[in-house]
Amino acid sequence: MTNTSGDVPAIEFRDVTKRFGDNVVLDGLNFSVPQGQRITLIGPSGSGKTTILRLLMTLEELSGGLILIDGDPYTHEYKGEKWVAVPEKRRRVVRNRVGMVFQQFNLFPNMTVLENIIESPVHVLGKSKAEAIADAERLLEKVGMSEKRDFNTNQLSGGQQQRVAIARALAMDPEILLLDEVTSALDPEIVADVLDVLREIAETTDITMLLVTHEMQFAREVSDRVLMFDKGQIVEEADPETMFTNPSHERTKEFLKAVLGG
């Protein structure tokens, strides 16, 4: 089912609507992300950026519309005229291609660092334990956490936990990686370490990435495209250079002025 030829987008939102009660967060949103692109979502809080990532991870249910991954229906589909949820069994097939790193790390405290990383490769992907451990060690090396392999997660600092969380997400070999404000909960002096890890991943892999971040400098370096959100709509879409130096929309100018303090 996987279609990775260049012309099928990695992610496609078609008329996506998301309501929480009476509050409409996303209203008929359309956008797509080509294979291997790095997209940063910016905008004021409550503009729906995080909701987009959470919908992509099926942490929230859609209120309407479709999300396609590599052209495959992911959460919902049309059967004739009827809009129906895709059964969990089929969602899981598609979900294997999507990984996520959270603001609060969300490591499992009942497992060691290594166990956190190999749990799903072994029990979801069905890798052999030896293979999963070898992969995990390679990833821990990559994020600079090799010595902490057998530590409990609560023996780690926030920055260390987040690097393990990144390794854990990568261990699932995702085609798409969602990064939800991954440095927001970290002390300022640790942020750079985590960003270095992400930068290296961006440079050495062809994973499609969707980032929500307040680190504008980082966004500028790694993204191919930046989407400015306001009230559940894309108000501006541009390459980072244009977006950060010469935005055209009034809302974008206000927002960037507020966050960059310029």
Partner: protein, 252 residues
């Protein structure tokens, strides 16, 4: 007094049998209770009203009608419908249902205390619901549950004394027999209560070890001092204290 003690010594083999009956009820009841607690505890937090509604009704029913009534209802009334159970089975079922209903609130509360982010991270790693619960959520909730389940276990031992009235020859029965033989109420009942106390004490001790193990697996283990291991501590988790419990179960 020496006669009393001689009588007690003569009745030690019978005490062994009596303790065995009390322990059978305790362990049987606890096993049934934990199964019921997990099923109803998860049932009480599902989205589906068709599962949650009945789960809540069952929990409130077995908490709200007294254990005594439940036990004797099973003993006297159930045979009318053609279900004749052995007295031991009646005791185990009654204790299991009653304390299972209470324990389900402990399970529900502890599961709710596991941060939502743990569920979400497990979803992001594409685990099935069962996999999430078994490997991620339950091990964390378990450490929270144990102190309160330990309390319920002691309540269950105490409740099992009721079984004497449905013909079971438990520690309570042994106490009554000892009194009959010695005609000394104070001696025989003190002896009986001490036996119950020792059983409850050993169970509490075992549960403290379980708790320590569960915490160590969460990386929060501190080696307990000997005094902590042997102490009879009441539950202290303030977030869960709100769930209504039977006597001694955690209003503290």
């Amino acid at each position: 007094m020496t006669d009393d003690i001689q009588e007690l010594i003569d009745r030690l083999p019978a005490l062994g049998d009596a303790v065995l009956v009390t322990l059978e009820m305790t362990l049987g009841g606890a096993l049934l209770a934990i199964v019921i607690a997990v099923v109803l505890g998860f049932g009480s937090r599902t989205q589906s009203l068709w599962v949650r509604g009945p789960s809540r009704v069952i929990v409130e029913f077995f908490r709200g009608t007294s254990l005594v009534v439940q036990l004797f209802w099973l003993f006297y009334v159930l045979p009318v419908f053609g279900f004749k159970m052995e007295a031991l089975a009646v005791a185990i079922v009654a204790l299991g249902l009653n304390y299972g209903a209470y324990a389900s609130e402990v399970v529900r509360g502890s599961i709710a205390s596991v941060p939502q982010g743990q569920w979400e991270a497990a979803t992001a790693l594409n685990m099935t619901w069962f996999h999430k619960v078994r490997r991620v959520i339950f091990p964390q909730a378990w450490a929270l549950m144990i102190p309160m389940l330990a309390n319920l276990l002691i309540q269950l031992v105490k409740g099992s004394a009721l079984a004497y009235y449905i013909t079971l020859q438990d520690v309570n029965f042994w106490t009554v027999e000892l009194r009959r033989a010695t005609a000394d109420t104070f001696f025989s009942y003190t002896a009986g209560l001490i036996v119950y106390f020792i059983i409850a004490y050993l169970l509490t001790w075992g549960m403290n070890i379980l708790e320590e193990r569960a915490k160590r697996r969460l990386g929060r283990g501190t080696r307990p001092t000997l005094r902590e291991t042997f102490s009879l501590k009441p539950p202290t988790n303030p977030r869960l204290a709100n769930t209504q419990m039977p006597a001694g179960g955690g209003a503290a």
